[in-house]
Symmetry: C2
């Protein structure tokens, strides 16, 4: 809206460039090995400007985690249309997740790997994102079970466990897919859908697997 | 065999007592908050003796990770009898895993949580254990697929992905089960078996889930 001078880049734009450079550097070289010098250089700004905008390496890393977490959860929410049948919602959600993590391997490395191994403060940031995704998946399963008219038979605790299992499987598979040449997002999503859907589908139809006697 | 003096405890026994105390302290209070003082006190030995035997806090933590990792993989291997049908092997393996993690919540906290968030050296120790478990599960799925005579149709890469998904789901579910009052090992194992088996079972019989057109 008008008054931004053409020669000076708005602070928000510069900050995003710094975060782009930081995510790439943290994701590829690791939190410890990454230096503020190389992040500033990659962003095309001076190191003092990085400190002026983002305060410290810790704060810069925290900002990276928050931005990447928000982008990932947004990608999943946008991918899922809640007017679709349950299996289609799950497929769309998985495809959105694996597409996003494949297209943003450095962001995924920051979230899944780097943020988890460098202390409790960073790990807590990721845990908050994870809880949001688990809640989203739980809701998806609850609605699907209700549609299948098995709601009373699929206990709330069971659904919470299923959501934890699904999210853990997706995290593990995304790390593997990104580390394995030639595995596409669609293949990873199909593998997990195959793994998960027939099981979940049977459960919702009231056909649980029967354990042998204790 | 004979010459151990009754008043002096063998070094190996003392070391195990120190590791017991360390796993409990690291698991419950976290790696950073745990002090060598409280570990020595809990073990009933002097702090210098802990340093004499285990060298440093880092080395003590590494020893804890290695002991707990070996105990967990051993529990799974002992639980699975390879002369059983595939679904029984999977069930026995899951039950052994969830029983062990439920009975050793501090050990699981060390492996799944503490060892992952305090730097790359500790995380690498856990990654090695994880690779061993993934390889074990992969082999289980390969043999099961061969038994179902679908071996050529279930590609090696697909099996590797399924094993990653299953291990990730199990890790996630074990953390949830230990943090959720009233969830038994048997319930957690049944939840994952339900989630996984119908899906895997269908896959092995050559009935994959069909994704919608791209």
């Amino acid at each position: 809206m008008g008054a931004v001078k053409s020669k000076r880049m708005p602070r928000a734009v510069r900050e995003q460039q710094m975060l782009d450079a930081a995510v790439r550097t943290f994701g590829q070289r690791g939190y410890m090995a990454a230096s503020m010098d190389e992040i500033a250089e990659l962003a095309g700004v001076s190191k003092p400007l990085v400190y002026l905008y983002l305060n410290s390496k810790e704060d810069l890393f925290t900002a990276c985690i928050r931005r990447e977490a928000a982008a990932l959860t947004a990608a999943i929410r946008v991918g899922v249309r809640t007017d679709q049948p349950a299996d289609r919602q799950l497929w769309d959600g998985l495809l959105a997740f694996f597409t996003h993590t494949a297209q943003n391997p450095d962001g995924w490395s920051v979230l899944h790997l780097q943020a988890r191994i460098h202390g409790e403060a960073f790990a807590g940031e990721v845990a908050a994102m994870r809880e949001e995704i688990v809640a989203f998946v739980t809701q998806l399963i609850v609605v699907a079970a209700r549609e299948a008219h098995r709601d009373p038979d699929l206990a709330e605790r069971e659904v919470a466990g299923l959501a934890e299992a699904l999210v853990g499987a997706a995290e593990s598979l995304a790390a593997w897919a990104n580390a394995t040449p030639g595995v596409t997002a669609r293949q990873a999503a199909a593998t997990l859908m195959n793994f998960a859907w027939a099981g979940l589908g049977n459960l919702m139809e009231g056909r649980p697997w029967a354990p042998p006697a204790a």
